[in-house]
Symmetry: C2
Subunit: 243 residues, 2 copies
DNA sequence: GCGCTTCTCCGTACAAGATACACTGTATTG
DNA sequence: CAATACAGTGTATCTTGTACGGAGAAGCGC
């Protein structure tokens, strides 16, 4: 029973209760909320210890009473930004996972900065773990082993993330490798790619498949890929039930 | 026909040729090689403009003749770190995509820092684009539209990345949210998760599914998930051929 | 009620790291 | 030989995260 990292303890409401001294004037929640607002508005780069503190009207250093480092702040932000996952209720597994994955992608799309932070950090907060839990529950409920369920869950998350990444690339809020977004990107590729060495790419560019992607098309794309995944899972589950 | 960003031009061998003045003493390649060696050895945090320059025996500022910013250096590193993709040859699409995805995961696993850099940057270098191209070629060759092929390719990449991420989480080189790696992570979860609010997770923890994952198991997991994906794709291709 | 303790929050100081700028010297060109 | 364009350098600056020590508030024991 080792000591929890500061921020983990606080995320789980396990901060040490103490009666002495002045009342804490802040909460981890208020801090993450402020940080998230900044990240949503200005991107992750706008999140500085100083900017977050300024928004709360406190000094930079006071934040360090709640998080041990900026990294910990980011960890806390990730968890705080996650909404509650959809509840399985009586939904059949396939419906539920479909809803789950879509909701997952949707909140990533609302907070694109999550894509820059979360990928490497395994979930440690109550909310992110709730997402994980619901998917596992449903999958094991459908007859899969825990190991399989974990694997599938992480694949679905990855799919949600990749889809959100595509969305972000389209919207143009990318790292500005050209003028902006998709348009600039395709322009760049057209300039660089020759049909000799990159036949498939050149063909795709000509066909315009890169260009066209308003919202509804992207949504169709999302459903398309999701169906692929769910089909695969379904095949497995059926196999398991027979075996 | 807009101007290419410095680094993109150089990655494609389009640097402006000039006869005047001293010969350039460096190459983008030598720079990225040095940077990659550092990243492999010390992680991405070890890559500083100064450390890269030091390794090459030049001054920090001389690098700026080759890349416009550290970000551009990272971009160039991503491309330089990618090996040549496997060539389709006469392989049937399913075999090829299987090899492709596995190779993709393998080189991510060799350069874990790629996971921290690449996710948001769409590919712009000759090598990364070659990977994209080969997958597109094979998929359109199997009868899919360019749009479908793009979608599938990005899903497979995402899967490779997610799998590499899992590997890295196991190996313990993660962001140290606990003592280290998987062991610490499961310990942490066990401490936090109660079966009431996190039934699925608690069950998975008890079953030990989180714990056991030596190399061969992980490889089995990888194949397992990949099969799921390929099955889904196969269903689609068959449908297309009939329709 | 008084001093001690134990907090929270703050101001200042420092360090790391990216990058702007102006300079030096060199190889090519006329 | 003079002019030019350009590679590489040194220094200065600016931005940020974070260590440290201090000041005051709130509870605690006498």
């Amino acid at each position: 029973m080792q000591k929890l990292p500061t921020v983990v303890a606080r995320m789980w409401g396990r901060e040490p209760v103490s009666r002495r001294g002045p009342r804490p004037g802040l909460t981890l929640d208020r801090i993450t909320d402020a940080a998230i607002e900044i990240a949503d508005a200005e991107g992750l780069a706008g999140v500085r210890m100083s900017s977050v503190a300024a928004r709360l009207g406190v000094s930079t250093m006071s934040l360090y009473g709640y998080v041990a480092s900026k990294d910990e702040l980011l960890t806390a932000m990730v968890d705080a930004a996650a909404p509650d996952p959809p509840e399985p209720g009586t939904l059949p597994w396939r419906e539920y996972l479909s809803v789950w994955t879509r909701a997952n992608r949707d909140f990533l799309a609302c907070h694109l900065w999550l894509l820059e932070v979360s990928p490497l950090t395994p979930p440690t907060g109550p909310r992110t773990l709730r997402w994980l839990d619901r998917a596992l529950t449903v999958l094991t409920g459908a007859g899969l082993t825990a190991a399989e369920a974990i694997n599938i869950t992480s694949t679905l998350s990855a799919y949600a993330a990749s889809s959100a990444t595509l969305l972000s690339a389209m919207s143009g809020t990318v790292d500005e490798t050209g003028p902006e977004g998709l348009a600039g990107y395709t322009a760049l590729l057209t300039q660089l790619v020759d049909a000799g060495t990159y036949p498939g790419l050149a063909a795709a560019l000509e066909s315009g498949a890169f260009g066209a992607a308003p919202d509804w098309v992207e949504d169709a794309d999302f459903t398309f890929g999701l169906t692929l995944l769910l089909d695969g899972i379904e095949a497995l589950i059926t196999r398991r039930r027979k075996g």
